[in-house]
Structures are given as structure tokens and as C-alpha cells.
């Protein structure tokens, strides 16, 4: 990777926080706030794309260190930012989701400055997690992302927003506490001299973590991170949180924040504790598969449109978790691909449900939406939802298919019974998506409820741009997954994962 690419990537975190500071501190009209916000998001996206292009030129499973300086010398903690193919995939996802989120929040008019300041504080934290190579730094950014989430939901949310925000914060903190405890244990067990993940992996390979230590440290850290990834039965914050959050925050929550958990689980628990994974893989896979089927089943009976999508996220994240414990190349790369894919598709679905439909119909009840004749009133929203729905149910040609089939193949390789059960989840996925699609967009309007009288505001340009951008992403990856797989697959063999391949998966 050349200096230019490294510079681009190392600028992403500071630029995003700077954007948050400017928006929060400088008085300006709302219109300008939105422009600055869009600018900040776009700069993050473009820097990520430039960095990725430059990264793609290096050969082999490299890790590119962007920035390294001692932070807490006595503890061996560094401010260490670095990327590999997996981080870059997540950075790109964050860039797309953040940009789309701004575009879908163009109509926010309550305390606009605070909204976008918190929004970018969250995104800065997310970028930080995806790029830190130091475990302590990773945790700091991870915590940093929780606080803005709480306020975004509690202030700008809808429905039972305070309850949802509190639930989300509590679940997050419990998870964090588990991760923190695990982190300290790892630090001590590895000789209390470094938090660098590569060095920890080296020690793990050398046998620094005994089997009995891994037997409890693995579940502690995996479940700690897993809570944020929607691991059943700790998933209940997700549907309530997603539904109460304002659209942009739902997009980020489902699209990116859940990936923080999965990313942490992969980077720390799976990478450092091969023996722990071997011991717990069956149990975790079982939870993942229950999540897939249960999430889909619950989505099938929801009456609230946003809850359908909320539970679908739990179901789709189950595939990520299942992929993580397969411990084979196909399954793991499928899991990472699914993180990206679900991030994009969930963003799209929440964009339609929360912004395009809810802001015009002012209800999320399927039974009410049914009577409104939305196919006539909002044809663009219908088209977007149809595409996003097919992408979500795993139609070939969209990113979800490639990702889920990889996870399924990986799982089948390890243990066919889990793959078969996950297949049942896909069937239910088709059913709940079709049900929502039919009810909301394809049922007959009752004249007295029809949304055409008075006519609903047409879909605005920012919404269209945001939707088209995300559709292009999911189609592009679906048709040519190599764009990402060429980044992800080599990364699975870099120094961070040197200990992992020694263990056993499912």
C-alpha cells in the first residue's frame, strides 16, 4: 500500500470526528448543517474507497499499519490503527451506510445540529473500531459508539423511544462489561505486556492461553460481543431499538452497529481462542440457527412494519454468527460478506419503512398501511422495497445470496444439520418478506384511507439517490462478489488469524 492510500485511511477517523465537532459547535442554518453532514459522510466514503483501491494492489495477506504511537507506555497500550481486507470491507460498509443515512435524514428538523453531531460521533467510533489493531483502543471506540446511540433513539425516536434506548444501552453495557473482563483476562494471561492483536495472536499460537482458560474466556468474549450482533437469546434489544430509532439511526444500528459485535467476536474471540472455539462451536451454532429460524418466525407474525424488518435483522445476523464458528474459509468469508450485505440491505429496508413510508403515512401498522394504496401513492417506495425484499430473501443476483450460500456451504462442510435448519430460516424469510410486501404495497386501497387524497409528498431526490446507491451496492456485490471476496479471503490468512487455523470449528 502506498503512502497516499495509508494517508487517506488514517484521515477517516479524524475527519469524521471533526465533522461531528464542526456541526455541533458552529452555529449555522439547518440547510448548511445537512450539507456539512453529507460532505463529511462522503469524504469518509471516498477516503475509504481510495484507500481500498490502493490496498488492493499489495499482494498477499497483508496488514497495513496506518498509525502507531505509544499511548499508555506502562501497560504497553498503543494508539494503533491498521487495516486488512476485512476491516476495509467494514469501512466501506460504514461509508455507504453513513452516506445513505444522511440522505434519508434530510427531513430531520428537530435539533438538527445535535442530531448530526451525535450521528457522526457514532460513525467516528464505528470507523475507529474497524481500524484499531490494539485491543484496548478497539474497546475505547466500541464504548464511544454506545453513548450517541442512546441519545439518538431517546431524543429523535418514535414510539416507546425512551424504553428502547434504555434497553439498548443496558444490553450494550452488559456486553461491554463481559468484553472488558475478558479483555483484562487476555491481557494478564498473555503476560501483561501488550494489547496488540497481532502479538496476542502470536502468543496464542505459542500456547499462552491454556485450554481451561479458553474454555471460559471464549464464551465470555464471544457472547459479550455477540449481544451487539443480535445473538439469540440476547437479541431483544435489537427489534425494539431498531423500531424506535429515527430512520438514519435504524440504518446505522442494523447496518453497522450490529456488525461491530460480529467483528469483535471474529477479531478477538475466534482469532485468539481456537481451543475455546472448538469446545463451544456447537453451542454457538445452535444459538445462531435458533436465531435464524426464531427471528424469521417472529417476523412472520409482526403487525408493525418496522418490527418485521427488525426481527429480520436478527435472523440475518444469525447467518453471520453461524459463519464465524464454521472455521473454514468459505464459511468465514461468507460471514464477513454477509455483514456487508446485510448492512446494505437492512439500510435499504429501513430507508423504505422508516423514511419513505412512515414519514408520509404516519403509521407503521400493517393493517393500516394495507388500506392506503401505497403502490399508487408511492411507486418509487414500492419499487425499492420489492428490490430490497428480494435481496433480503436471498434471491440470486443480490449480495445476500452469495453471502448466505457461502455460510451455508461452510456450515454444511462442518455439520450438515445446522445448514439444513438455516435453510428452513430462508424459507420463512421468503414468507415474511412476501407477506409484508403484499400487505403494504399490493393490497387494494380503501378509498377513505387512500394516501392519494390529499396526495402524499413525492419521494424526494436525496431519498432516491440514497436508495439507488444502496441498490447498486447490493447488486454489484451480488453479481461480482470478487470485489469484496478478493479483499476478505486473503485477510483470513494474515497474522491476526495465525492462531485460529490451529483449532477446530463446528
Amino acid at each position: 500500500m502506498d503512502d497516499f492510500g495509508a494517508n487517506c485511511l488514517s484521515l477517516i477517523v479524524p475527519v469524521t470526528f471533526l465533522g461531528a465537532a464542526v456541526i455541533g459547535l458552529v452555529r449555522m442554518p439547518d440547510e448548511d448543517v445537512r450539507r456539512v453532514a453529507l460532505g463529511t459522510a462522503l469524504i469518509g466514503l471516498v477516503l475509504g474507497l481510495l484507500g481500498t483501491c490502493s490496498f488492493a494492489h499489495i499482494d498477499g495477506p497483508a496488514i497495513a499499519v496506518l498509525h502507531d504511537c505509544a499511548w499508555v507506555k506502562s501497560l504497553g497500550i498503543h494508539f494503533l490503527l491498521a487495516v486488512d481486507g476485512i476491516s476495509l470491507t467494514m469501512v466501506l460498509l460504514t461509508g455507504f451506510a453513513a452516506t445513505a443515512g444522511v440522505l434519508f435524514s434530510w427531513n430531520v428538523d428537530k435539533r438538527v445540529r445535535e442530531f448530526f453531531a451525535l450521528y457522526f460521533a457514532l460513525i467516528g467510533g464505528v470507523y475507529g473500531v474497524f481500524m484499531s489493531l490494539d485491543l484496548f483502543l478497539l474497546f475505547v471506540f466500541y464504548e464511544l459508539a454506545i453513548i450517541p446511540k442512546y441519545f439518538l433513539i431517546a431524543i429523535w425516536g418514535s414510539g416507546e423511544r425512551r424504553y428502547a434506548a434504555m434497553k439498548l444501552a443496558l444490553y450494550s453495557f452488559v456486553g461491554s462489561a463481559m468484553v472488558l473482563a475478558g479483555m483484562v483476562a487476555v491481557y494478564v494471561a498473555a503476560g501483561a505486556e501488550t494489547m496488540n492483536l497481532i502479538e496476542l495472536a502470536e502468543k496464542a499460537r505459542a500456547g499462552a492461553f491454556s485450554d481451561s482458560f479458553q474454555a471460559w474466556a471464549f464464551p465470555l468474549i464471544f457472547v459479550g460481543f455477540g449481544i451487539l450482533a443480535g445473538l439469540w437469546p440476547f437479541h431483544t434489544w435489537a427489534p425494539t431499538g431498531h423500531s424506535a430509532a429515527p430512520t438514519a439511526a435504524s440504518m446505522l444500528l442494523a447496518g453497522v452497529v450490529m456488525k461491530l459485535g460480529a467483528y469483535g467476536a471474529l477479531r478477538v474471540a475466534v482469532a485468539l481462542f481456537p481451543a475455546g472455539l472448538a469446545q463451544w462451536a456447537d453451542a454457538i451454532a445452535l444459538l445462531a440457527v435458533i436465531g435464524i429460524v426464531y427471528g424469521a418466525g417472529v417476523a412472520l407474525v409482526q403487525r408493525d412494519f418496522k418490527f418485521v424488518i427488525g426481527y429480520s435483522s436478527v435472523s440475518h445476523m444469525g447467518f453471520v454468527i453461524l459463519g464465524l464458528v464454521t472455521l473454514n474459509e468459505v464459511g468465514l468469508s461468507g460471514a464477513v460478506l454477509q455483514m456487508f450485505s446485510h448492512g446494505i440491505i437492512a439500510g435499504l429496508l429501513f430507508g423504505v419503512v422508516g423514511r419513505m413510508v412512515y414519514e408520509r403515512a404516519h403509521t407503521r401498522q400493517l393493517s393500516m398501511l394495507e388500506c392506503m394504496g401505497l403502490s399508487k401513492a408511492l411507486p418509487f417506495a414500492m419499487g425499492t422495497f420489492v428490490i430490497a425484499g428480494f435481496a433480503s430473501m436471498g434471491m440470486p443476483g443480490f449480495s445476500g445470496f452469495v453471502a448466505e450460500i457461502q455460510v451455508l456451504i461452510g456450515a454444511w462442510d462442518a455439520s450438515p444439520k445446522f445448514a439444513l435448519l438455516a435453510g428452513v430460516g430462508i424459507v420463512i424469510g421468503v414468507a415474511y418478506t412476501l407477506r409484508a410486501m403484499n400487505q403494504v404495497f399490493f393490497s387494494d386501497a380503501k378509498p377513505e384511507h387512500e394516501l392519494t387524497v390529499p396526495p402524499a409528498k413525492p419521494i424526494s431526490l436525496p431519498e432516491m439517490i440514497g436508495a439507488v446507491m444502496l441498490i447498486v451496492c447490493t447488486l454489484g456485490i451480488g453479481l461480482y462478489p470478487r470485489i469484496l471476496l478478493d479483499l476478505i479471503v486473503p485477510a483470513l490468512h494474515n497474522d491476526l488469524f495465525q492462531a485460529m487455523w490451529g483449532g477446530g470449528g463446528l
Binding site: E329, V330, S333, F390, M395, P396, G397, F401, V402, I405, Q406, L408, I409, W412, D413, P416, A419, L420, G423, I426, V427, V430, A431, L434, N438, F442, Y480, P481, R482, L485, V489
Partner: protein, 509 residues
């Protein structure tokens, strides 16, 4: 030379597949309020695809000694899964894309009655055409499955939004049946991939009998996907409602080409990849095929709605193909003397696919004409004596019905004759039990002729309009094909010969 030289090197099959997709986008974005203009545009797009097909046909080396696959394109796609973009045609693929190229423009022209949202309607049909071309030329499971599903989505919306009074329930039933079949198939292929390490149809077929990659469980999963699509009894229950509720042009597509995707799957995928499993389950499979043939014939006899009647007739006709495919998997051990019988059965099955596609599409097209003229009536007893009022319509439709019942000299005879020639030698009992199907088919098709065309002319239909010139032009190519193929079947049998020989050889290994 210039232009043709260029065409020889061009990725013709990709162009063929993606051209209708581009056309669908253009048609979908047309601003015109005039349905006829949108239809003309869509017709032009779908008709243009016949040029690359004609070129492929003219340059197809029917007697090529080597690999029977031609116009192959092969590119790396997803290396981590070993997936390639791999397309090409052999005789079977060529006949199927030709059939698609003929039936889709017919269906578009037959859609004169569509007035509501014509842009979307015709865009969906072109979308479907692209999916069909893709599915008939793909040789790697991965993108074959993409196109297989791509066909499902537009047909779901076409049935749902432009169909008859109960179309929504029918569309949903159709979607769910097909989707469950597809997912079973997907699971099956994943398991197969685990065992064989490939998604490539040709590789999977090589030595399928010896390498032990395929198991009975995998076979059942994959079979389910195709059995729903064709359909094979007892997986047929979606079909009568779907065929009768779909708008008639879409029924033409459903029976004319989409059901062929299922049969194509049997010939291209099931038979070469799972010969041992078919042989092991021979008794059950042949029973199902015979039941399909016989029961659907009797079911057709019991119907009063013409569309439902012909729907069951389709099931019946494709049942013969199933019978041939299953029979061909027998006696694989050593005996080379069965090769001729197997070739006959398979050639018959392939030719029957094409013939049934053309004939059934034409018959449904005629039913559409009857519906338009009668204001939606299509019961067998709603008409009577029409041949006096509309002799040309009745004459041409009569020819199609006779082609369908297998009158020698028309196309239907050739396929069924070859199938029975092969199957009687390979499994005489199954063939004997299937013959009542032939008889009953003749009975109900003659019943249509008698009730609709003959007898006293109902007063209501005194002024029953004759076929217009446009409508005559529309069905003329199909009727002409019935004669041409009836008299000169070698035209297509030559094309499929090398494919059949390849499959039979693979079976013997």
C-alpha cells in the same frame, strides 16, 4: 465476411441473454400512454433476439466429432467457490433458446388486451425472456440458479397483477411451490458441491456413476425442484389454478417455455448427474411418470374450462418426457445394445419439449382469441358450431389440437413415437400402462373439437368475428412449424443427435 467474422468471435450467448434485459429497462421507462406502441417496442426487442439465435443455428456444427458444446464462453467469477461464468449451447440448449425466441414474441403480440400499466407488463415479459435464455444456456449451477429464479419473479408479478379474479391466491401458491422446490434444489446442490467440489454441470456429469458424489438424499432434493416445475404428479397442484388464472399470454409462456425449464433440468442435470439414483428409484419414478400421464389425461377429460383442460393436457404431454428420461437410466451396466433405444427415447423427449412448447402456446393463444371474442367465456359448452362463423379460427385451432393429440404428419407424433419406441423396449410395462393416456388425450381433444366447433351454431355467436389478418400472422409461424416438423423432423433431430449420444455415452460409463 466482415460482419460475420465479427459475430463469430462475439460473446453471442451473453448478448442474447442480456439484450432483453436492456430492452426491459428501455420498455419499462417508456413514457408512452399508448399500449400498442409499448407492445410494438417490446415485440421488436424480443424478435431481434432471433437474429443471434439464427446465427448460432446456422453455424452450429451438428455432427461435430468432439465436444457437442459450442459457442462456449468461460470466465472466472467467484474463485473462492470455484464458480465460473460458463455458458454454451448444444443441440438441446439450441432448441430451447429457439423455442423461447418463438414463443415470447408470440405471447407479446397476443397481449393486445393488456391496457393497464403496459410498460411494466412488457418489461416483465422481456425480463422473463432474459431469464429463460440464461437458464437454457448456463452450464454452471451458480448462475443457472440465478436465471432460474429470475424467471420466477416476473412470472409471479405477471400472474398476480394482470390475471383473472382469483389470480392473487394462484400467484402466491405458484410462488411458494416453486420457491420451496428451488430451495430444496439449492440445498441439494450445496451438498453435491461439498462432495464433488464443483458447480459445473459438465464436470458433475463426468463419471457421475463412479465418483459417489451424488447420494439419494441429494437426488431427492434436486428432483423436487424440477418435479414442481414440470410438474410431476403429486407436485402439480399449483398448476391448474395458475394456468387458468394467469393472463392467457402468460399461460402461453408458462406452458410453452417455463415448464420446459423443468424438463430441461431433467435431461441436462438429473439424468447425467444422478443416473445411479434414478436407476435405484426406478420403480417409484416410473410409477409417478405413468400416474402423471394417465391421471392428468383423465383430469383433463373431467374439466369444463378450456384453460384448465389444456393445463392438464400439458401435464400429460410432459409426462411422456419424464417417462423417457427415467427409462433411459436403465440397463446401464454393460449392455451396449440398448444405446439405440435410449437415444430414441431421449431424442423423443427433447423433440417433444420443442413440439409441445409450440403447440401448447398456439392452443392457449387460440383460447385467448375465443376469450376476447366471447367477453371472457371459455367453458367447453359456452360455444358450439363456431366453424360456421369463424372457419379460419376453427381450422387453425383444429390443426393445433390434432398436432397435440399426435396425429401423424404433424409435429406431436414424432416426439411421442420416438419416446414410445424407446420406452417400449426399455421398460415395456411402463409404456403399456401409459398408453391409456394417449387414448384419453385423443378423447378430450376431440371433445373440444366437437363441442366448440361443431354442432348447431348458437344464436349468440352468429356474428362471431373471424381471425383478423394480424392474428393470422401471429399464429401462422406456429402452425407452419407443426407441419414442417411433422414432415421433416430430421431438421431438429440432426441438431440434438450429438447431445443425445453424449448423454447416452455418459450413462454407459
Amino acid at each position: 465476411m466482415g460482419v460475420f467474422g465479427l459475430m463469430n468471435d462475439a460473446p453471442l450467448i451473453s448478448i442474447l441473454t442480456f439484450f432483453p434485459l436492456v430492452g426491459a429497462l428501455i420498455v419499462g421507462l417508456l413514457r408512452s400512454q399508448d399500449a400498442a406502441r409499448v407492445r410494438a417496442m417490446a415485440f421488436a426487442v424480443s424478435l431481434v433476439t432471433l437474429f443471434p439465435i439464427a446465427f448460432i443455428w446456422l453455424n452450429f456444427e451438428a455432427h461435430s466429432a468432439g465436444d457437442s458444446l459450442q459457442f462456449v464462453e468461460r470466465h472466472d467469477w467467484i474463485p473462492s467457490l470455484g464458480v465460473e461464468y460458463f455458458v454454451g449451447v448444444d443441440g438441446l440448449g439450441l432448441l430451447m433458446i429457439l423455442l423461447t425466441g418463438i414463443v415470447v414474441p408470440m405471447a407479446i403480440q397476443a397481449s393486445a388486451g393488456v391496457k393497464r400499466n403496459p410498460q411494466l407488463y412488457f418489461a416483465l415479459i422481456l425480463f422473463l425472456q432474459a431469464g429463460l435464455y440464461g437458464a437454457f444456456t448456463a452450464l454452471n449451477f451458480f448462475h443457472w440458479f440465478l436465471f432460474w429464479e429470475l424467471v420466477l419473479i416476473p412470472s409471479y408479478f405477471l400472474i398476480r397483477n394482470w390475471g383473472g379474479p382469483k389470480c392473487r391466491a394462484a400467484a402466491l401458491q405458484f410462488f411458494i411451490f416453486t420457491m420451496v422446490g428451488s430451495i430444496a434444489m439449492l440445498v441439494g446442490f450445496m451438498a453435491l458441491y461439498q462432495n464433488a467440489g464443483s458447480f459445473d454441470f459438465m464436470e458433475l456429469a463426468e463419471g457421475a456413476r463412479n465418483n459417489g458424489a451424488a447420494t439419494m438424499a441429494i437426488f431427492v432434493c434436486v428432483l423436487l425442484g424440477f418435479a414442481v416445475k414440470v410438474p410431476l404428479i403429486p407436485f402439480h397442484s399449483w398448476l391448474p389454478a395458475t394456468y387458468s388464472e394467469a393472463p392467457t399470454p402468460v399461460t402461453m409462456l408458462l406452458t410453452g417455455v417455463m415448464s420446459k425449464m423443468g424438463v430441461y433440468g431433467f435431461v441436462r442435470i438429473l439424468l447425467p448427474i444422478f443416473p445411479a439414483q434414478i436407476e435405484a428409484a426406478m420403480g417409484t419414478l416410473q410409477t409417478l411418470a405413468v400416474l402423471t400421464i394417465v391421471l392428468s389425461a383423465f383430469a383433463a377429460l373431467a374439466q369444463t374450462d378450456l384453460k384448465r383442460m389444456l393445463a392438464y393436457s400439458s401435464v400429460n404431454h410432459l409426462g411422456y418426457c419424464m417417462l423417457a428420461v427415467f427409462a433411459a437410466a436403465q440397463y446401464t451396466s454393460v449392455d451396449p445394445q440398448w444405446a439405440a433405444e435410449k437415444s430414441a427415447a431421449l431424442s423423443g423427449a427433447i423433440i417433444q419439449m420443442f413440439n409441445h412448447g409450440v403447440t401448447a402456446a398456439a392452443i392457449f393463444c387460440f383460447i385467448g382469441f375465443l376469450e376476447q371474442r366471447s367477453g371472457g367465456l371459455r367453458g367447453i359448452d359456452d360455444f358450439g358450431g363456431l366453424r360456421k362463423a369463424a372457419p379460419i379460427l376453427c381450422g387453425l385451432m383444429g390443426i393445433s389440437l390434432f398436432a397435440s393429440l399426435g396425429l401423424p404428419g404433424l409435429n406431436g407424433f414424432v416426439g411421442e413415437f420416438l419416446i414410445f419406441k424407446g420406452v417400449f423396449a426399455l421398460s415395456p410395462w411402463a409404456a403399456a400402462l401409459a398408453t391409456p393416456g394417449l387414448l384419453v388425450t385423443a378423447v378430450f381433444l376431440l371433445k373440444i373439437l366437437q363441442r366448440v366447433f361443431s354442432g348447431p351454431l348458437n344464436d349468440k355467436w352468429k356474428g362471431f368475428p373471424e381471425l383478423t389478418t394480424r392474428e393470422q400472422m401471429l399464429v401462422a409461424p406456429a402452425v407452419a412449424l407443426m407441419f414442417v416438423l411433422g414432415v421433416h423432423p430430421q431438421l431438429f433431430l440432426n441438431l440434438t443427435n450429438s447431445t443425445v449420444v453424449r448423454i447416452v455415452n455418459q450413462l454407459a460409463n
